[in-house]
């Protein structure tokens, strides 16, 4: 694994095609609309949204870094600080909770030796509680947010979840 490229401008160099494609979706005088897709790009590039990353997105769109930065706090899928390589986000909202999601989350944490919101000692997995993910009929369930995007894992048991954490360890464990 290589360290994230945090040079200012890396985004524009590395994702020139993607950025152009994103900008093309919106009217020319409404580039601000592209801020959320660009924040995802930056987050995938840098792992989280640092002030420098915000400035980079702001520069691309001609916005103030504050206009860009305030979105990071508002939307839960953006992160302003580094955490585990993989975020395991367990839904414990009412419908899932009725089907044992809270106990599921507790067991997963116990097995990982952490509390909700914490990251495993190896820095790989951060376990978080989230609100409804529209997977209520397949509870317990969680989503995985990593550098490839966001993926659902549904109809889980503690065993299947732990098997997945092992898989994560195998994938990310060696750099």
């Amino acid at each position: 694994m290589t360290a994230p490229d945090v040079r200012l401008g890396a985004l524009r160099e590395k994702y020139a095609t993607e950025i152009d494609a994103i900008l093309a979706r919106y009217p020319e005088d409404q580039r601000r609309s592209a801020v959320m897709p660009l924040l995802y790009l930056a987050q995938h590039q840098y792992g989280y949204l640092s002030p420098a990353a915000l400035q980079e997105v702001a520069t691309i769109l001609g916005l103030s870094s504050t206009q860009v930065g305030s979105l990071v706090g508002f939307y839960t899928l953006y992160h302003d600080r580094p955490a585990g390589q993989v975020r395991m986000q367990i839904c414990t909202d009412l419908p899932c909770a009725l089907r044992g999601a809270e106990a599921f989350a507790q067991s997963v944490c116990q097995n990982l030796g952490i509390r909700l919101g914490e990251t495993t000692a190896d820095g790989l997995i951060t376990v978080e509680e989230v609100t409804c993910l529209a997977g209520c009929d397949r509870a317990p369930m969680f989503q995985v947010q990593d550098s490839t995007g966001i993926h659902y894992r549904e109809s889980q048991t503690v065993e299947s979840a732990m098997a997945w954490t092992e898989e994560v360890r195998r994938t990310y464990g060696r750099s």
Binding site: P51, S64, T66, Q67, G69, F74
Partner: protein, 838 residues
């Protein structure tokens, strides 16, 4: 939008207002205060705080027949919504009945206050806002006596979060009304503060570098309805009820923002009364309820301990303290002997009364007096200036504004703000300059020219309107020219960027020609505005002073004796040293012992603007009066008194007894000022929005104007003067090889009236020149590297900043920032040691 008058009833009071008026404003006009936190009459309504909840009854209408059923009294039956409604977002309707003080509305607002207080710290006893706090006042008026929220469970947040050098946030006091965020976005055009998180965690943040990077940031503390935003200047400085107030006019730029100075005796200053804070005073035709941060924070010079306090007389080579009598007689003697060889220089920060007296004194012995500036055209602005009814706030669709050779954001921020708003209302803004500035951001047409081509550019715009001398540029600037010629009202701002005296004079003439050619000369809301380097340059021209045509050096070469007030020519240009040394005698009045004053034979301590009365004439041609706020410092006297007392000793008239009497003399000898009296300057009329009453929640803590809106002078053309503009001589760029050094202004400079404000230290323009990357590469210069500059026989070294905003072939020199340069000059640059690329 006026859909005609709408009649309604608010708490039993019949009200008639133009259609489209919001209920909250309609009530205000009728003398009924509907409580608000988020609503501000200068910003679009958002309905966030829900404090303005009222009951609204609307005439019921039969859905089938469309008829309005009547009750037994023959009045329409009113239908009341089950829910309370926000008065700040609802425009009035015909025949409505609004209940502000009903039981239901009161109960609703009581709940809103209780909600706000669940997380507010209630630390009023230590809060700067306490005493003038909307939340405090509305809690007393509308809140519950006791909160049902468990006080110990309140969560606590940071109480000292510096958003930048100037503004401090107390997070737990914030009630999330977003007034500050909206002000920065809607009015200031600097979206540099915003919200982070959401819900109960919602908090103000800035991500700009430096933090809260805006020239208007201080205004957010005025409109903040709680003590969440405070200025670093006033924070924990005083309680509002301890403050004395005095009306004033900002001395920093030609906008002439109306101020209220809040003062208090201060132990730190030995019990002297000093300025605790500078606040905006409402003048809707000038600054509305806003001021820039320079006006708000660069006041410390007036209270500086290094101010001159006693007259100084040169004895045995040294300046030593003397009595006024000694100093005046020494000065009179020295000046009298110079006779026609006396050369006076006055600065444009002096009042009209000062300048008038100064000129008369110099002329009493047959000498000459000039204004210390390189910008010409003040006689042209007198003739073609902004008309009697001129008000940038009234410009809108169909009108046009031309801004040429100036960076308004740096030179006159409130003009910048107001033309931004005019452009957003629909006025066509044309910006012509040699480089991009922030005025371009909202321009409809941007016209770029090379330094030296300003006059041709304006003539080109004029040519595009079908006037004579159609130039080659005309076609290119057709659209811009057409916007100007078709405008209902046309206001032209001209500055002196890249121009010397002759150039700026020619530019003023070209602008006048444009106004004449497009038929706007003499229209009551149109005209020409000079973006002068000093606050009262227009007044100085009106008082008969103008810059020396051949420059200060040539001017002083002919002098036997010098008389200098509020100017520091030597500080501005060290090469003047020999001619100043050669003077037989030099008299200076000043605030500080400047480089020039140090060489004087007599130095008089002058009062600063906060200690005295006076009047200034703004760039828009509005004469405005300022008042004494604190007792004089030491033995300092007003400049007009010093000049007139000297004049009396030199055989002139006796000194006037007061500034007001000085104005009477002006009014009787300067035609444009006929009829201007201190009494007239103090007249006020009601302004909208109503601010400064007990209801601080409506307009914020900006002060109501009770001390005078000033007198807007008519232009000569408007008063019947000839509307024929002199045709300008076009000017060529300064000849010679090398880069063109261009002095430009940054708001926070290092001038004597700014430097004493330590608060502005980190935002001050640094000692550097700015270059285009192309030129920097050719010179092997890196950003931040040292560069040696050689021009007019001078050699200086400073840092180079590389920026693509600088035109190729030019090097921008920040005025009053260390490198002294008054007019554009050709220079040879080379990388100094440490300046080359690695």
């Amino acid at each position: 939008m006026s859909d005609g008058e709408v009649r309604l009833t608010i708490d039993g009071r019949p009200v008639s207002v133009p259609g489209g008026t919001l209920i909250v404003d309609a009530a205000k006009r009728a003398g009924i205060d509907i409580p608000v936190f988020c609503y501000h009459p200068k910003m679009a309504p958002v309905g966030m705080c829900r404090m303005c909840l009222v009951e609204i009854g609307r005439p019921a209408r039969d859905r089938v027949t469309g008829e309005v059923p009547l009750d037994s009294d023959g009045k329409p039956v009113l239908f009341y919504n089950v829910k309370l409604e926000t008065a700040c977002t609802t425009p009035v309707g015909e025949g409505w009945n609004v209940r502000v003080a009903s039981e239901k509305a009161l109960a609703g607002r009581k709940e809103v206050v209780e909600f706000l207080l669940t997380s507010h710290p209630l630390d009023c006893p230590i809060c700067d806002k306490g005493g003038e706090c909307p939340l405090q006042n509305l809690t007393m008026g509308h809140g519950p006596g006791k909160s049902r929220f468990v006080y110990d469970d309140k969560f606590h947040l940071d109480k000292r979060v510096p958003l930048g050098d100037l503004i401090v946030l107390d997070r737990e006091r914030c009630i999330q009304c977003a007034r500050c965020v909206r002000f920065q976005e809607e009015i200031a055009g600097d979206a540099v503060i915003g919200f982070y998180e959401r819900g109960r965690q919602w908090e103000i943040v800035t991500f700009s570098e430096p933090g809260f990077d805006s020239y208007f940031s201080g205004n957010t503390t005025d409109i903040c309805p709680v003590g969440a935003l405070t200025t670093a200047d006033f924070r924990f400085g005083a309680r509002p009820w301890e403050l004395n107030t005095a009306a004033s006019i900002c001395p920093h730029c030609p906008v002439g923002c109306n101020l209220t100075l809040n003062t208090r005796r201060e132990a730190e200053s030995g019990g002297r009364e000093i300025i605790k804070r500078v606040m905006p005073r409402q003048n809707e035709a000038v600054n509305e309820t806003w001021i820039c941060d320079k006006g708000r924070f660069a006041h410390h010079f007036a209270s500086s301990p290094t101010r001159l306090q006693r007259p100084l007389v040169r004895r045995e080579g040294n300046l030593v303290e003397a009595t006024w009598e000694e100093a005046l007689s020494a000065a009179a003697e020295g000046l009298r002997s110079a006779g026609p060889g006396l050369r006076g220089i006055a600065g444009g920060r002096l009042s009209n009364e000062d300048l008038f007296a100064f000129r008369r004194t110099v002329e009493a012995v047959g000498g000459q007096a000039v204004l210390d500036t390189q910008m010409g055209g003040g006689d042209i602005t007198r003739r073609f200036g902004l008309g009697r009814l001129g008000d940038l706030g009234q410009l809108g669709p169909g009108d046009a504004i031309l801004v040429v050779a100036t960076d308004l954001h740096e030179e006159a921020p409130i003009w910048w703000l107001r033309i931004k708003l005019a452009a957003e209302r629909g006025a066509a803004l044309v910006v012509a300059n040699a480089r991009s500035t922030r005025t371009d951001d909202f321009a409809r047409h941007r016209v770029r020219y090379d330094y030296g081509q300003a006059v041709e550019t304006v003539l080109g715009l004029a040519g595009a309107t079908g006037m004579k001398d159609r130039s080659a540029r005309a076609d290119r600037d057709q659209a811009a020219g057409s916007a100007l010629s078709h405008a209902g009202e046309l206001v032209v701002f001209f500055g002196s960027e890249g121009l010397d005296y002759a150039g700026s004079t020619a530019l003023a003439e070209a602008c006048a020609a444009l106004l004449v050619g497009t038929g706007h000369a003499g229209k009551p809301q149109s005209g020409l505005i000079g973006v002068w380097p000093s606050a009262n340059d227009q007044g100085a021209w009106d008082m008969g002073l103008r810059p020396p045509a051949d420059g200060i050096l040539e001017y002083l070469r002919q002098a036997k004796a010098g008389y200098i007030a509020a100017a520091d020519p030597l500080g501005d240009d060290p090469t003047l040293r020999p001619v100043i040394d050669a003077l037989d005698f030099l008299v200076v009045h000043e605030l500080f012992l400047t480089a020039t004053a140090e060489l004087a034979d007599v130095v008089f301590p002058a009062q600063s603007f906060i200690e005295r009365e006076g009047s200034l004439t703004s760039g828009e041609g509005r004469v405005q009066r300022y008042y004494p706020a604190v007792p004089p410092l030491g033995e300092a006297r007003p400049d007009w008194w010093i000049a007139a007392s000297l004049g009396a000793r030199l055989g002139g008239k006796a000194a006037p007894v007061s500034a007001a009497a000085g104005m009477d003399e002006i009014a009787s000898s300067v035609p444009a000022y006929a009829g201007v009296t201190y009494r007239a300057l103090a007249e006020v009329h009601e302004q909208w929005p109503l601010v400064g009453g007990d209801d601080l929640y409506f307009g914020g803590t900006a002060y109501a104007n009770r001390q005078g809106l000033g007198v807007k002078l008519a232009s000569d053309v408007e008063s019947g003067g000839a509307a024929e503009a002199p045709w300008p001589a076009t000017t060529a760029p300064a000849p010679g090889a090398g880069l063109l050094l261009v002095p430009v202004l940054r708001l926070y400079d290092r001038g004597t009236t700014v430097l004493p404000s330590k608060l502005l230290e980190t935002c001050r323009a640094s000692h550097q020149i700015e270059l285009n990357p192309e030129d920097a590469t050719a010179l092997h210069l890196a950003d931040g590297g040292r560069v040696q500059i050689e021009w007019d026989g001078r050699v200086e070294t400073c840092a180079a900043a590389v920026s693509s905003a600088v035109p190729v072939g030019a090097a921008l020199v920040l005025r009053s920032s260390g490198l002294t340069l008054r007019t554009p000059a050709r220079a040879r640059l080379r990388a100094a040691s440490g300046g080359t690329r690695p």
